[in-house]
């Protein structure tokens, strides 16, 4: 093997990823970034120092073997890299694109202490995309067991939980409220950031595992949780319904026409394809000058969608400063490139009526940063006498979500005081056999955390059902010498080809 790498010997600059020019991309929905080629990926892999203490692995919420998969890329073995990745994550093409890497894996990468960190997300996306293009899957042969499992919600939490349980042999049905599966990946995150084909490919993989999707099904309404575990005979249930309920700020003018939630805007645009109106029937109703309140990923997506829909000016109104903006660094950067006008330290206090129940503008108050609050971020405080008026005809709220009330209304689930589902360390809810994870437990978080929760719940559900974990050598008491193999040599993930 070559000489040990050091921070001086590796390529100093990060391998750039080709991006479409801002002026061109800001008017269509095709993807902004183009992904690495094999050569680019190999070159970037050469920047990894294979640190023995692996800080990046601890930075990843699901603990992906990052140096392990990067090593395979370096050797030109993309399939090998895929197998390493899928030991932990099910959605590399998605998380490589949408993880906030700068606060997770890349944020703690050793190289990042003196240079730009290794582009872990881009490498992961490269492998994930290659797998989709080549039709790889890490499908183990599945030995059916006798259990049937219901998954409520088809976002990343539900998808991950479904996959693991299907691999363990359970007959899995995913119930989804919308007409198409995918959760936020489908209705929330726009195509220019996460193309629909990527989501379709991941769903297709799940169906190849034998998972059934039953769309147009709202649990709590068509079937209650009691029915699922009772008369319908599901042995266990996982709830991954997300934290979809939008919040508004409770300021005057909120019910004016032209005031909408980012969820509504994005659902109309992405799921209902309102951007193709009138070829598609769903209208969108976004004007020429749009003010988006908030600075998280949802806000960035809403702003960039409005630009692409032809808005002349899109404003971002956020009460803290740029440093506190919760969006992924890359999205904020792309939004700036595309010409969004940012009003930092600006808090909306009233939406102004144009006299016809439409929006004429947004009255705001300037803020300054005071003492740090409980979250450690400096608390914005109003500057007296600093009110300004911003002209706009559409106001989009992207200031966070609440727990959806339907399951709480219709089942005896223990909820916390904000309405999220309470779970124990096994992700079990107060109802026997019912588990939960993802945004409906934690509040709005990230794709990878939701996926991780889905997998942890799947592991707990396997224990609950008494199924062996295929990752752990299983030694039933008393038959240690069966067929002359020691227990740990036996391959329990083996099995029948469907």
């Amino acid at each position: 093997m070559a000489k040990k790498r050091t921070i001086r010997s590796i390529p100093q600059g990060r391998t750039p990823m080709v991006e479409r020019p801002a002026a061109e991309r800001a008017r269509d929905f095709a993807e902004v970034t183009c992904g690495y080629t094999l050569d680019e990926a190999v070159r970037e892999s050469e920047r990894c120092l294979f640190c023995p203490d692996e800080p990046c692995v601890r930075g990843c919420p699901v603990g992906i073997d990052i140096p392990g998969f990067i090593r395979q890329i370096g050797e030109g073995d993309v399939r090998g890299a895929y197998d390493v990745l899928t030991g932990t994550t099910l959605l590399p093409a998605i998380c490589g694109r949408v993880c906030p890497q700068e606060t997770q894996c890349e944020g703690v990468c050793t190289v990042g202490q003196s240079l730009e960190p290794v582009a872990i997300g881009r490498l992961e996306r490269f492998v994930g995309d290659r797998a989709i293009a080549e039709g790889w899957s890490s499908r183990p042969d599945i030995e059916p067991c006798a259990f049937t499992v219901a998954i409520v919600g088809s976002g990343p939490a539900g998808m991950a939980c479904a996959a693991d349980l299907a691999k363990a042999g359970c007959a899995v049905t995913v119930f989804e409220a919308f007409q198409q599966p995918g959760g936020v990946l489908r209705y929330g995150i726009p195509d220019f950031r996460l193309p629909n084909e990527v989501v379709d490919a991941e769903i297709a993989k799940l169906t190849r595992l034998g998972i059934t999707f039953r769309c147009n099904t709202v649990i709590g309404r068509l079937f209650t949780l009691d029915q699922l575990v009772g008369e319908m005979g599901f042995d266990a249930v996982f709830i991954g319904v997300g934290a979809g309920a939008p919040t508004f700020a409770d300021i005057p003018g909120e019910s004016l026409n032209g005031v909408i939630s980012a969820n509504e805007l994005l659902t109309r645009c992405n799921l209902m394809r309102a951007r193709e109106f009138p070829e598609r029937d769903t209208p969108l109703g976004v004007g020429r000058r749009v003010a988006v309140i908030g600075a998280g990923n949802t806000a960035m997506d809403a702003m960039r969608v409005c630009l692409r829909l032809g808005a002349e000016e899109v404003l971002c109104v956020y009460r803290r400063s740029r440093d506190e903006a919760p969006a992924r660094a890359e999205e904020l950067h792309h939004a700036e490139q595309e010409g969004i006008t940012f009003h930092w330290l600006t808090d909306p206090v009233e939406i102004l009526d144009d006299g016809k129940r439409g929006v004429r503008g947004l009255r705001c108050q300037r803020m300054e940063l005071g003492e740090p609050d409980a979250s450690g971020r400096r608390r914005p405080v109003p500057v007296p006498g600093s009110e300004i008026e911003l002209e706009c005809d559409t106001v989009v709220f992207a200031i966070g979500t609440n727990a959806n009330p339907i399951l709480g209304q219709t089942a005896k689930l223990r909820l916390d005081k904000r309405g999220y589902i309470e779970v124990d360390e096994e992700l079990a809810t107060s109802m026997q056999g019912v588990f939960a994870g993802g945004d409906i437990v934690t509040g709005a978080a990230t794709v990878i955390e939701a996926m991780g929760a889905g997998r942890r719940a799947a592991a707990a559900m396997k224990r609950y059902l008494g199924l062996a974990d295929p990752d752990v050598p299983y030694a039933p008491a008393g038959d240690a010498g069966l067929f002359g193999f020691a227990a740990d040599q036996r391959d329990h993930a083996r099995v029948r080809v469907a």
């Binding site: 409220a177 709202v218 339907i406």
Partner: protein, 291 residues
């Protein structure tokens, strides 16, 4: 994609007038789960819009639900033109919304204005089954639009029909019918009204003066029907509520009807474009083809 095969087949259709039609759809799970006061969201084809429609009836033995639809704009007219027994819907989700509280009121007035006769029917029936004294008040613009008169009458102890032009029943609005009922029955405990917002507001005004508890079913513009878009928000008692999960029924005396009516006009320009474009398409299609 291996999506579970749930078909949403149309098994019945009836046309009440040029603008109102009934569809009966087979979906046994939905028929079993449906309760009075709930609604469904329908997509007739994959490019279509999600349209909320009240469950006007359900038959658990046949495994069907019934929708009564007024052809208003593009989608409801396209459905009127295209859907009949043998065809099916692309998507059907429900039952959505909180079921009506059938309550304990002894004497109840059920008011249906125009198309509202359909959604109020299952409530009147449930009240009757519970043993309440049900006074039905239904109103139409004129005689040709009347539907379900017999069906409705059968679940009412008293029945008043009104029409704007006097071509059937008493000449006047449903509010006149309500006044007649309240004059005869000072013991009315509750009134439930479903119809156009302006009618529901009128009913609320009459009963407010009389101190009768009044429930209305609101019909704001919706997308998902599960509480995740906020498009259906309405003002009730000064608070913002989401009609699809907190409603659709609310205390009429708390509802801000002006707000509802303005919000319903949100997409007027787009609705016009969609309708005109569709009507043009129809003309082209139905034009004799040139050999």
């Amino acid at each position: 994609m291996s999506v579970a095969d749930v078909a949403y087949d149309i098994v019945g259709r009836e046309d009440f007038s040029d603008v109102t039609y009934l569809l009966e759809i087979r979906e046994p799970d939905l028929a079993r789960a449906a309760r009075p006061g709930q609604f469904v969201i329908v997509m007739s084809h994959p490019e279509g819009e999600r349209v909320p429609l009240t469950i006007a009836d359900f038959d658990r033995d046949r495994g069907t639900i019934t929708l009564v639809i007024q052809a208003m704009g593009k989608t409801t007219r396209e459905m009127q033109a295209g859907l009949r027994p043998g065809s099916s819907l692309y998507a059907l989700v429900g039952p959505l919304g909180r079921p009506s509280e059938i309550g304990t009121a002894k004497t109840v007035v059920c008011v249906g204005g125009g198309l509202g006769v359909a959604p109020i029917y299952p409530q009147a029936r449930a009240l009757k089954e519970r043993g309440a004294y049900v006074i039905g008040v239904i109103g139409f613009r004129n005689k040709t639009l009347v539907f379900w008169e017999d069906k409705f009458r059968a679940v009412c102890d008293e029945f008043i029909i009104c029409s704007d032009d006097g071509s059937v029943g008493i000449k006047g609005l449903v509010t006149d019918g309500i006044k007649q009922a309240t004059a005869a029955h000072p013991d009315i405990d509750e009134l439930i009204a479903i119809g156009p917002p302006i009618m529901m507001r009128g009913c609320a005004e009459v009963t407010r003066a009389l101190g009768i508890h009044t429930v209305v079913s609101l019909n704001p513009i919706m997308v998902d029907g599960t509480g995740m878009c906020g498009g259906c928000r309405v003002k009730v008692g000064g608070r913002t509520r989401f009609a699809c999960v907190d409603g659709p029924e609310f205390d009429a005396h708390q509802v801000d009807f002006d707000d509802l009516m303005f919000r319903l006009a949100r997409f007027k320009p787009e609705e016009k474009i969609a309708l005109e474009r569709w009507q043009q398409g129809c003309r082209i299609e139905s034009a004799p083809s040139v050999p």
